[in-house]
């Protein structure tokens, strides 16, 4: 974690018509670091991720990649830099097998035709290094469980050798065991020196794998915490804005009345 962070957002703002979705947001992701991005619904997590992924170009501020300012205004530009995004709805083709999905859009070719052997071999290697267990790489995605689909979707993001992986709620619909598998996988991504941005509503997951927690509230930064030295409650209060909520307002009002 020396030198400039792989990805840094400096004072990023984004506006949709009358809605100021992001205001002056800062975020840094280093290689081999898992940054959890948390916040309530509508806090701007998805918008922030989409600006990094190139879906929504930013209005103000700068994005720096390995210390140099870059423009990310198209999804392809983000992919070319090395940003891989796993969206919540996974976007896998049910009828294609695991190999087909892993290499969809960047198939390996041999004499102009698909090189199924090389793709299957690389798929197996990739899944093995990630310790992903699926029945067969030649099974259609439709036959896999939710957790297996999630790990395939994450593995798919890694085929292009990215430097930053964005995971949007990877454990939202998963059972206990599958969640553990996905969290294991996140740790393995970190071991491989990738920067991971993990969006999650689940504090247990965040505490389990994240190094840093960046809290967004109403489109603004509301604190960046080291997970190791921060309690659950501190994060929650940053998410909900404990300094400004129904309880504190009431206390302030009571104090006012008491005067």
């Amino acid at each position: 974690m020396t030198g400039a962070p792989v990805l840094a957002l400096r004072g990023v703002s984004k506006r949709f018509g009358a809605v100021q979705a992001l205001t002056d947001v800062h975020l840094e992701v280093n290689a081999g670091e898992v940054v959890a991005l948390v916040g309530d619904n509508g806090a701007g997590k998805s918008t922030l991720v989409k600006t990094i992924a190139g879906v929504h170009p930013i209005d103000e501020g700068a994005i720096e990649w390995e210390g140099k300012p870059v423009d990310i205004n198209r999804p392809q530009a983000a992919q070319a830099l090395g940003v891989a995004t796993v969206y919540q709805d996974l976007a896998l083709c049910d009828n294609l097998d695991v190999v087909g999905n892993l290499f969809l859009g960047r198939e390996l070719r041999r004499f102009g035709t698909l090189d199924e052997v090389a793709m299957e071999k690389r798929a197996k290697e990739l899944l093995d290094t990630l310790s992903i267990r699926i029945p067969s790489v030649r099974i259609p995605i439709a036959a896999l469980s939710g957790g297996q689909r999630q790990v395939v979707a994450i593995a798919r993001a890694l085929v292009g050798d990215p430097k930053i992986v964005i995971l949007d709620e990877p454990t939202a619909a998963l059972g206990v065991e599958q969640t553990a598998q996905v969290l294991d996988l996140v740790e393995r991504l970190r071991e491989r020196g990738l920067g991971v941005i993990l969006i999650s509503h689940n504090m247990a997951d965040v505490k389990a794998v994240a190094d840093t927690v960046a809290v967004l509230r109403l489109g603004r930064n509301n604190g960046v915490f080291e997970v190791a030295t921060t309690s659950h409650e501190e994060i929650i209060s940053a998410i909900t804005g404990a300094t400004e909520n129904a309880v504190t307002r009431r206390q302030a009002r009571l104090a006012e009345e008491a005067k």
Binding site: C93, N95, V117, K121, P135
Partner: protein
């Protein structure tokens, strides 16, 4: 561990300590022939029927009509069937492409008709060179297909409506091109006329044998090469016993077909062209990046788009391919009846082609199918039609029986989809 062939070549090998333990619930395929049989049984049970129902159906149809008439399996009847399937079969290949996207094209019959009309009128009445006329007709069909694709993919009009409009409009154009006479005879012994009537080498027996042996050798060699490459890469390969069985089955079918054709007039040109189109399109769909894109769009539009696939282009190109196939099929139909007329491509020509694709096993729900199903399906339909003609059943009954067979095939498709879902393969 993938470089270690002992652990990956056979999946039941004990996993090394570092590797993840194999989940006891996972299906493990035994090596060798027993594994092939058990895999086959499992596929049947889970609703992955493949071409088994069609092949059984074909055998049943052949047996029934042979029993009723004694003429069905005669060489000249079978040769006629292989000639007649080319036209509707080529249209059905186009239907397979469209069905793979999960869409439909109702205009293919009209496209076949209008293409045949353009080719015939240009060559006969305007004196254009016949080859040029054929190419112009196919190019016109491609442009019409591109138009359908444009309205569907770019404007977002449902394909059903676009192609319904196309069906009406192109059949109008067909009538307009044919003019008041309403029919244009193809040139005697010209290019179009020969499409149907020519036999390779004017019936020389060598051609049928040559093509049969070529097919067997290419198939067997391809399988063995694939086996070698996969084994070398440390992947599970199809066992040699299975390759031998598959090649053997193909050899029996191909040699029997060659023998039968040689009993009559030899190898018909329409069969050669139809088979070549099926083989080439099958290769394109399974082995090229374009084919993978077609399947991806059929399986999940959003996933395909995010993978960087140009969904609109895939859709437009598929409608162009379907239109091109329809044009080719229309030329064969014109060749067979000796003229392009107002009726060509009308009636139930389109329905037969769609039925053929579905009966052959291509799913109506998109993403599953192969162009071989066009061949199998049209064989079933043409066999029924020919058989019923042999026993002098009138056309009303023919329609009803073909309808029932189509319904049966769709029921099979739906039920197998449901079974596949419950078996976790949907």
């Amino acid at each position: 561990m993938t470089t270690d062939p002992t652990t990956t070549a056979t999946e039941e090998a004990p996993a090394p300590a570092v590797a993840p333990a194999i989940d006891p619930r996972l299906l493990v395929r035994e090596a060798g022939f027993a594994g092939y049989l058990s895999e086959f049984k499992r596929k049947m049970k889970s609703g992955d029927l493949g071409s088994v129902p069609v092949v059984l159906g074909l055998i049943l149809i052949a047996a029934i009509f042979q029993g009723l008439t004694g003429d069905f399996l005669k060489a000249d009847n079978l040769t006629n069937i292989t000639k007649w399937i080319a036209g509707p079969g080529l249209i059905a290949v186009g239907v397979v492409f469209v069905l793979l996207l999960g869409e439909i094209d109702l205009s293919l019959g009209s496209l076949a008709g209008v293409s045949a009309a353009i080719a015939a009128v240009l060559s006969v009445r305007s004196g254009v060179n016949e080859w040029a006329a054929v190419l112009i007709a196919i190019a016109a069909a491609l442009a019409m297909g591109a138009l359908h694709g444009f309205f569907f993919a770019k404007i977002g009009v449902p394909a059903f409506v676009v192609t319904l409009a196309g069906m009406l409009a192109w059949s109008g154009l067909q009538n307009y091109v044919l003019g008041d006479k309403g029919t244009a005879n193809v040139l005697n012994d010209g290019v179009i006329a020969n499409l149907d009537t020519y036999f390779l080498g004017d019936g020389d027996v060598i051609y049928a044998w040559l093509f049969a042996i070529l097919g067997i050798v290419l198939f067997g060699a391809g399988q063995v090469l694939d086996h070698r490459r996969r084994t070398a890469a440390g992947l599970t390969a199809r066992p040699m016993s299975e390759i031998a069985l598959r090649t053997g089955v193909l050899a029996v079918i191909a040699l029997a077909a060659a023998y039968t054709l040689n009993q009559d007039r030899g190898l018909p040109l329409p069969l050669v062209i139809f088979l070549a189109v099926v083989v080439i399109t099958d290769f394109v769909l399974r082995r090229t990046g374009y084919g993978r894109q077609v399947f991806a769009v059929g399986g999940g539009v959003e996933a395909a788009r995010r993978a960087g696939i140009n969904v609109a282009w895939v859709r437009i190109s598929v409608y162009m391919i379907a239109a091109g196939m329809a044009a080719l099929g229309g030329l064969f139909i014109a060749s067979q009846q000796g003229s392009a007329d107002k009726m060509l491509g009308g009636g139930n020509a389109l329905m037969n082609s769609i039925a053929a694709a579905v009966i052959g096993g291509t799913s109506l729900f998109g993403g599953r199918g192969k162009t071989w199903s066009a061949l199998l399906g049209i064989l079933v339909i043409q066999s029924i039609i020919t058989g019923l003609d042999l026993v002098h059943v009138n056309q009303a009954i023919q329609y009803m029986i073909t309808g029932a067979v189509l319904l049966g095939a769709v029921v099979l498709d739906s039920v197998s989809r449901r079974t596949q879902k419950s078996a976790g393969r949907g």
